[in-house]
């Protein structure tokens, strides 16, 4: 069958839009090699000093390390909560499933700045009660990030649950398996990949989270995005160009790797 392909004009316009999409990412590369201390395009001389800053400067290392720990904690916690919640909805189909789902997705649909103010209120209230889960602490950030990322984990786990055959669970139940056995021995092994994907995605979301982080940290718990934000607001530090290039290279490698993998798989079938 003949397909109606997009015309030349559409392709031309799309090339322009595609360039628009990639241009700011490419613009970061030359700037990261500037020998100067401020945002500038190198003229002739290139320098790696801003890359060196990334692994010599304690500030950057601590930011990366903090973001890693917060990401692992909040992704683990959020994925666990979301997995049990999605299982509950899937197995028992409770009466107000739609409303319960709506509550679980609330932080995702609310504007980030409203969530940020809400979590700011939450953490300064907690600060009056304890010093661990408090404003401007690692555990406080992890707790706030958990709130923000939990809806995404719920969506992903629910999607992979939707593909599980219910008869399997019914069979297990008919054979006398208890709730624990059904969850851990029957259903969880079948949605393993969904749960792992949820963990991975929520980790990335926490790693990148900035809108809420700005509201709930000041000088102690400075995550990597928070450090970048400071550098962008005041004077523009070219070290941000260097870290940006590193992040862009990682993302590009993963996205292209996935595309190649998908193409190879398609060809084999």
């Amino acid at each position: 069958m003949i397909r109606l392909r997009p015309g030349l004009l559409a392709i031309l316009l799309a090339v322009l839009v595609g360039v628009f999409m990639l241009l700011p990412l490419l613009a970061v590369i030359p700037v990261s090699f500037t020998p100067k201390r401020f945002l500038s395009v190198p003229e002739g001389e290139l320098s790696l000093r801003h890359y060196r800053t990334l692994y010599e400067d304690r500030e950057w290392l601590e930011g990366i390390w903090l973001s890693l720990r917060v990401g692992l904690m909040s992704a683990g916690f959020a994925t666990a909560l979301a997995t049990f919640f999605s299982l509950g909805i899937w197995m028992f189909r409770p009466r107000f499933a739609g409303v319960l789902m709506g509550i679980a997705l609330l932080p995702m649909v609310a504007p980030p700045v409203v969530s940020a103010l809400t979590l700011y209120f939450f953490l300064i209230t907690l600060t009056q009660m304890n010093g661990v889960f408090a404003y401007d602490t690692m555990m406080g950030v992890a707790l706030a990030h958990s709130v923000m990322i939990v809806p995404f984990a719920v969506v992903l786990v629910s999607v992979s649950l939707a593909q599980v055959d219910r008869r399997m669970d019914l069979a297990a139940r008919a054979m006398g398996a208890g709730l624990g056995t059904r969850v851990f021995k029957v259903i969880l092994p079948n949605i393993k990949f969904g749960v792992i994907t949820a963990f991975f995605l929520t980790f990335v979301l926490s790693w990148e989270e900035i809108a809420v982080t700005i509201f709930i940290t000041s000088v102690e718990a400075v995550t990597l995005p928070r450090l970048m934000w400071q550098g962008l607001r005041d004077n523009i530090d070219p070290a941000i160009a260097a870290i940006s290039v590193v992040l862009i290279v990682i993302v590009t490698a993963v996205v292209i790797g996935r595309a190649v993998f998908a193409a190879l798989k398609e060809r084999r079938v």
Binding site: A14, P24, V28, I103, E208, F215, M228, W229, A259
Partner: protein, 274 residues
């Protein structure tokens, strides 16, 4: 009893967590809006009458409308190629959408600074070629905000548009061609109307996202073209006025809930459509 109790073992942890960490604190924020600095409705009257705050609302609305229109048009072009292009074109388009999509909002805002600032690449080229003498002012103003926001929103416009385009039946297009319609006519009179629901969905989604968007406007606007989200930030941390920030947040939340209700209505399948 167990019938009602057992689901709760699984459902309760998340619900309790969100109730304590999100819903209760939001009630607290609503409380602030009525009690700070003193009990009353003065925060809401201020938010809705103070010319300075009103101008922020209007600017937000204006910028969001422009961002929505531009992102949806650009997203439509990309989605078209993503869905209907040849395999190679499809892969290339996918990379143009997915690579920026996965890159953090800060990195993307920085990319625009590197490109558009007075010492950035674009001004460097233009000066080098002798087109301009003084650097153009392209960021830290409304232009920069719109460019950065459009760049951020395009993927969010592409996803609903692409899924609307995938449902278009190829045979209808072929039939129109067979009846003698030109390619342009098939596009405008058959293809575009058939994806109208996707267009509406994409526009609403982008608009809802844009209206509460904080990071890109704050960085690329450079404090000069403040939008609603940055206003809340400034009222919390720079001119401590928590009551007003809370009132503006509540207004924002109400406005966005209304828009989301509209979006859900748009996305829910209509009877007899398919």
């Amino acid at each position: 009893m167990t019938r009602y109790f057992r689901p709760m073992i699984l459902l309760a942890p998340l619900l309790i967590f969100l109730a304590l960490a999100y819903m209760l604190p939001f009630a607290g924020v609503i409380g602030w809006s009525f009690t700070r600095p003193e009990p009353g409705l003065q925060n809401y009257t201020a938010a809705l009458t103070d010319p300075l705050i009103l101008s922020v609302f209007w600017r937000t609305l204006r910028i969001c409308v422009m961002v929505t229109v531009i992102s949806v048009i650009m997203g439509y072009i990309l989605a078209l190629l993503w869905v209907r292009g040849s395999p190679l074109v499809r892969t290339l388009t996918e990379l143009c959408i997915l690579i920026p999509f996965w890159i953090s909002v800060l990195t993307r805002a920085f990319g625009w600074l590197a490109l558009l600032s007075s010492r950035g690449l674009l001004n460097g080229w233009l000066e080098g070629m002798g087109v301009i003498e003084d650097p153009l002012r392209l960021v830290r103003n409304e232009f920069g905000v719109i460019v950065g926001m459009v760049h951020f929103m395009i993927p969010f416009a592409v996803f609903p548009l692409a899924s609307a385009m995938r449902t278009v039946d190829e045979r209808v297009l072929m039939a129109a061609r067979g009846m003698g319609a030109s390619r342009t006519r098939v596009f405008w009179q058959v293809f575009v109307p058939m994806t109208a629901a996707g267009l509406m969905g994409a526009a609403l989604l982008v608009f809802v996202f844009a209206i509460g968007f904080f990071i890109t406007p704050a960085i690329l606007g450079g404090g000069r073209s403040v939008m609603v989200a940055e206003l809340i930030y400034l009222r919390i941390f720079q001119s401590p006025d928590w009551g007003l920030a809370a009132a503006v947040s509540v207004i924002l939340m109400v406005a966005i809930s209304a828009l989301l209700a509209l979006l859900l209505k748009q996305l829910s399948p209509k009877g007899g459509d398919r």
